[in-house]
């Protein structure tokens, strides 16, 4: 906050001058970012647990290149280097955790560079990007290396019925239903940080209880998936159940860590509800009728594009105002 320090002769003291409010909440940008990093740790641990220590390297490369790219671009543009705010660390972590196990380190690095360079800095840096940078990175990798990014490995502690494929792909292409408990623990095929629902939920509860993440978006996504997924399942029971929708694939990870990304989600409460419900609608449509088994990434990116519009049309009614 802009402030002046004045030394007044009669008082012989330095008093700080700045305008009200003179108190501030404990939250700082940095603190929020590092809380998100903390919330991602259970998912990192589950990634190591189910896919081996080598996965730490994938995640480390993603984080390292994300931070490095941001610092380099800020340096080249002669802007203050602000990587200590932690936002690039988060992008790196998120990207690392949505990649398949044993993903090529070179591709990972490319993804991280693209995520920060195109997904974030091209728009003007923190606060100005329209799309979630980690998802931009992942979308780029999907387009550039479609085979590598859908090559899954059998996790540690796999039970017999678990195949290499993700539960969604198994259902979509082979009609195999994966058990709910496996999806809870995470000993199923899938991206590093997404397979363990428990790990994601621990992080999610932490973020919501501490007030870092707004609860409305995950709640709206849950409502949406139950309504749309459940509706289809009621019509035709060969479609996945709402519970399957929730626990399979990256729904939870997306709901907790991707859709709640401050910058690329709406700022109004009503907007958050609309945004979350629409993500689930698009998601269910892709999963059930689309050619792909998974749709979380696309549905969030798709709705990111509507956020400015949503913000505009959900301006809250000003206190005491009668809307005509």
């Amino acid at each position: 906050m802009s402030s002046v320090t004045v030394t007044e002769a009669p008082n012989e003291r330095e008093l700080l001058l700045s305008t009200s409010p003179h108190l501030q909440s404990r939250w700082t940008t940095k603190q929020i970012m590092w809380f998100v990093v903390l919330a991602l740790l259970p998912s990192v641990i589950s990634a190591v647990l189910f896919f081996g220590f080598a996965q730490l390297l994938v995640i480390a490369i993603a984080v390292g290149f994300a931070v490095g790219t941001e610092a380099l671009i800020q340096y080249l543009m002669k802007k203050p280097i602000a990587v200590s705010d932690g936002s690039a660390v988060i992008t790196g972590l998120l990207l690392g955790l949505i990649l398949p196990p044993h993903f090529s380190l070179v591709f990972t690095a490319l993804g991280a560079i693209f995520a920060i360079g195109v997904g974030k800095m091209l728009f003007g840096g923190l606060g100005y990007n329209i799309f979630n940078p980690a998802l931009v990175g992942r979308a780029f990798l999907q387009a550039a290396f479609p085979v590598a990014i859908t090559t899954w490995t059998i996790p540690n502690f796999a039970v017999d019925t678990v195949s290499k494929a993700t539960p969604l792909a198994a259902l979509k292409f082979d009609g195999v239903v994966t058990g709910l408990s496996s999806m809870m623990y995470g000993n199923v095929g899938g991206s590093l940080g997404e397979t363990s629902a428990i790990a994601v939920l621990i992080g999610g509860v932490f973020l919501i209880v501490t007030g870092v993440a707004n609860w409305r978006i995950p709640a709206a996504m849950l409502v949406g998936v139950i309504v749309f997924g459940g509706g289809l399942w009621l019509i035709d029971s060969s479609y996945p159940t709402p519970l399957f929708h929730i626990f399979a694939g990256s729904f939870l990870f997306g709901a907790v860590f991707m859709a709640t990304d401050y910058v690329s989600s709406p700022i109004t409460n009503l907007g958050m509800w609309i945004y979350g419900i629409c993500i689930s609608l698009v998601l269910v449509l892709i999963r059930v009728f689309g050619g792909l088994p998974e749709g979380v990434m696309y549905s969030i990116l798709f709705m990111n594009a509507f956020v400015p519009l949503i913000n505009r049309y959900t301006r809250p009614r000003i206190f005491g105002e009668v809307k005509s």
């Binding site: 906050m1 009669p10 009200s20 003179h22 108190l23 700082t28 707004n214 989600s265 000003i318 005491g320």
Partner: protein, 448 residues
């Protein structure tokens, strides 16, 4: 469930620093600086000349116009000068400086000037209004609106209730709390006088639930009076703002640009109720200020009654002085008060507190880009979009800012309090608001 309004924030309360300190009366200062403009509206017109001897309670400046209030000498003494002096809002304002008179051996001090006491049970509405006007009482909540004007609503207004603002939602301050503990009957009497002046049957005292003793004390005091009640509210800032208090107490929303009057309510502060009681039943003019002096930057926090016009530095001295690490002196509460650079500035009628924060506590944080986290949107009690408005103000897109309701902002600071990016939202909003108002004026002028 306690009643409240949606939105708002929970700053650290820090009431324990001074909540158990009973009011002390401060001894006379070496001089008082008496601003002629201690209220909203037109400054008062001086009636005395330099070197005049004045009695305590004597009118030294008369009200000038409808929205104005007279000023009385807070101490017996001699007028040393009339000129521009610093006041605690940071501006130079016309003020009288009075020093205690040196009396000769056989000379007798002029007696205090008071007005004839009235019977609180039989005083007529006109008498009450006249007395409040004569006594120079102004609202104690910060804005310092002349109280008499509020007791004179325009013809044809249907008024339903008087709400006494006992929220004291500003962190640190405990003066209203002390009043409710030490003078509950004066508050009830003041409330009943205000109700009679307005012809209203219902009186409510709204108190936040972080002051359970005050709630109990006031509940006891209203017993046996028809139409009076205590309303306990959930603690939250800025519940003391008029619009928020009405919403919390009876659920009504005062529309933008309208007054509490428009929804049938008049709000008065605790200190105002006490002042009305004292003026009517004891004939005392408004010559003292009750205030909390607190914060970790002051050695001995206190609740004080001081003569209006006492320099802030004397008050601080009386409370043991500043600590070594004092970093900021605020007049008013820490959410809406004004930081001081000149401690010679005086306490005014509406001064509710002096809060001294330590250097550690005021450590300025770095500003980062807006994260679009929406925390400011959640916090704004008026449902504005602070981040958007600040941005529009910064870009000077005034038409859009107007459309998004920038002029409604009451500068409560909830948004800036909550912002993790430490964006000076209130500064931008103030600037934008002023510019939009200027634009609206010139538009009006063009149309005329």
């Amino acid at each position: 469930m306690f009643k409240t309004f949606p939105g708002g924030v929970h700053p650290p309360e820090e009431k324990e620093l001074s909540e158990h300190c009973a009011f002390e009366v401060m001894p006379l200062p070496a001089s008082v600086i008496l601003p002629l403009s201690q209220h909203l509206g037109k400054q008062a017109k001086p009636l005395v000349d330099k070197r005049a001897t004045v009695a305590r309670g004597q009118v030294v400046a008369e009200a000038d116009g409808f929205i104005s209030a007279p000023v009385h000498a807070p101490i017996m003494g001699t007028v040393k000068s009339i000129g521009r002096e610093n006041n605690s809002n940071g501006y130079m304002k016309e003020a009288l400086v009075i020093i205690p008179a040196k009396l000769k051996e056989d000379e007798e001090a002029p007696a205090d000037v008071t007005m004839p006491p009235l019977d609180a049970e039989t005083a007529t509405p006109d008498e009450i209004r006249a007395r409040v006007k004569e006594a120079g009482i102004v609202g104690q909540g910060g804005a310092a609106f002349p109280t008499f004007v509020k007791l004179n609503p325009p013809e044809g207004r249907e008024l339903e209730s008087v709400i006494i603002n006992g929220c004291e939602c500003e962190p640190y301050l405990t003066r209203d709390d002390r009043f409710m503990l030490e003078r509950p009957d004066a508050i009830v009497s003041g409330l009943r006088l205000i109700m009679r002046a307005l012809g209203v049957q219902k009186g409510i005292i709204g108190i936040e639930n972080n002051k359970p003793d005050a709630i109990a004390s006031m509940q006891k005091a209203v017993q046996g009076f028809d139409g009076l009640e205590v309303c306990a509210l959930q603690t939250k800032y800025p519940q003391g703002a008029e619009k928020m208090l009405i919403k919390a107490v009876n659920g009504r929303e005062v529309p933008p640009g309208k007054l509490p009057l428009d929804v049938g309510v008049v709000i008065q502060n605790i200190g105002t109720a006490v002042a009305v009681h004292d003026a009517v039943t004891k004939g005392e003019p408004s010559v003292t200020a009750a205030l909390t002096v607190t914060g970790r930057g002051i050695r001995t926090p206190k609740n004080l009654i001081v003569p209006v016009g006492t320099p802030i530095k004397d008050v601080i001295e009386f409370c043991g002085g500043l600590t070594e690490d004092a970093g900021k002196v605020i007049v008013g509460g820490p959410m809406m008060g004004v930081a001081q650079y000149n401690l010679e500035a005086p306490v005014m009628k509406a001064t509710s507190g002096i809060v001294v924060l330590t250097k550690e506590e005021v450590r300025a944080r770095e500003e980062t880009n807006c994260l679009r986290c929406g925390k400011c949107v959640d916090a704004c009690p008026l449902h504005l979009l602070p981040t958007r408005l600040a941005r529009l103000a910064e870009l000077n897109r005034l038409e859009e800012a107007e459309e998004y309701g920038i002029t409604v902002c009451m500068e409560c600071g909830s948004c800036a309090f909550t912002c993790p990016a430490n964006i000076p939202l209130v500064q931008w909003l103030r600037l934008g608001k002023q510019r939009v108002i200027t634009m609206q004026r010139s538009r009006k002028a063009d149309a005329a």
